[in-house]
Amino acid sequence: MSRVCQWMVVGALSTIALTALESLSSMSREISAQMLINGAGASFPNPLYSKWFSEYAKVDPSARFNYQSIGSGGGIRQIKAGIVDFGASDAALSDGELKQMPRELLHIPTVAGAVVITYNLPGVQRGLKLTPDVLVQIYLGQVTKWNDPKIASLNPNISLPDQQIIVVHRSDGSGTTNIFTTYLSRISKTWATQVGKGTSVNWPVGLGGKGNEGVAGQVKQIPGAIGYVELAYADQNKLPSAILKNQAGRFVEPTLEATSATVAGAITELLKDMRVPIVNSPGERAYPIAGLTYLLAYKEQDDQKKGAALAKFLWWAIHDGQKYAPGLLYAPLPPQLVKVVEAKIKQITFQGKPVLAAH
């Protein structure tokens, strides 16, 4: 009996070994088979990017894009080390940071998204209004209860519970954090001096979640929680978004139209430099916390086939790919911006020659 079992064990181990061997042999066929193009970075656009890569596999079956959502900080780091073929970040790199890259790195904006303030208040579904000051005070830990008069006075029609506000922020390096803290720094000198802005800051209070996914997950699990996530995450998980007061003084709900209005309001600056932050945008209908998200690719690619495939995808993303954006509540790029981005994509070269055939 134990003989049979021993043979079974041998059989099991052999299967594992054979599977491993099969992969080893497929490694040699790697170049001729499907190309795998690896990317990593922002969780902000992940819902849209995963849709894109899934759809694009039908458009160009010869390439597979493997994108891992590890946060903008991760995207920047990994593309800098050259470990992935492209990065993704909502935090644009400054000129100083660009100089630290091994070669010239291009920012390719793909879509714009809104950073919403989502919350978990049993009994309070939609319609919570917040002003920038109150928001800052919550995240500074100065306003600690939901039924604090500062919040209650903004929301006379909602009965707020006597519950602790549980603040959630990002524990990883995040472009979403960058957009959010840039906004807070602009509207509050206290925040700017005490905490500052960046992909990863010294939060005064709160729990840390990993990725937009982690923050949304925490908010969903914990009653009384408040967090900042990209609109798609709140929407897909049926989490409510707070209505914020914008610079023009109006309370604006985070919608696709509001995000587009934000981008439109900032278009002149964007055309000069696409990395400019667009938070606290003037304009009646603009939603105050929004930002563009970028794919990061080296101007000079080191693999002809991969570079061409990547450029082809980028071209598709800013044209055909844009039609998937509204469904997930991301704002497509306005046509003037698309023209500028097209020129950027054409700059991608391999050994000096542009990889993209004439379009």
């Binding site: 181990l13 594992i16 490694m27 790697e30 990993k210």
Partner: protein, 283 residues
Amino acid sequence: MTFDRYLRRKAINLLVSTLAFLCAAITIVPLLMILGHLLSQGAKAVNLDFFTQLPKPVGEVGGGMANAIVGTLILIGLACLVGLPIGIIGGIYLAEFGNNRTGWLVRFMSDVLNGTPSIVIGIFAYTVVVLPMRRFSALAGAFALGIIMIPTVIRATEELIKLVPISVREAGLALGIPLWKVILRIVVPSAKAGIVTGVLLALARIAGETAPLLFTAFGNRFWHQGLGQPIASLPVQIFTYAISPFEDWHRQAWAGALVLIAMILILNILTRIVTRGQYRPMK
């Protein structure tokens, strides 16, 4: 009075015995709860799709973890390439020739390696494999897992070979067989069952490792494209899904956990079967 004291001592005895039983029982309770949850939540979620489909785009319901399951199998299979040579051959050394300072050092290092957090081993694999290759890959992940395997295999091999009676070796030598042949052809095969057990235990352990894979094998939403590329694995997938907000991903995480535990359980049960009636190495 002596009778009172005697009663008191008996009472304390009874009390302590009950407490001890309760302690044992309470230690089991979390296990039963976890297994219960796994079964109820996981069984609901496991369907054919889970085993055959790739993950769907973020937020969409459905899809499966087929690539992650295969990925884990590949990773532990590859890890054997790193872990088994050092483990088994090293174990032979320790058993046959290890009665010296070098042997003591190797044993000590093996024990320390056993207690090293797997994330530290992951950092090592990142520096040694990912950075030079300039890519996340299945090879890097397997390298990390292989290192984690080594202490378990080395210890099992050493113990089982030492169990083979000296008389067997003496008999072989007396017949004029060279020492290396005695060891390789006679001693090791008779310890085979135990060595296999050690390997199975090691595989069961590394199948569940997550931390080192986070920055070596990375992750892949598609089928693996060769060993020099990132690869999905069951534990990493479970982690990613568990901390996300999507209900469907939570469901799949439970299913994944159930499949993972089933794999580990099967490996553990196999070890018991293989060595039924024979001496088992201490884990």
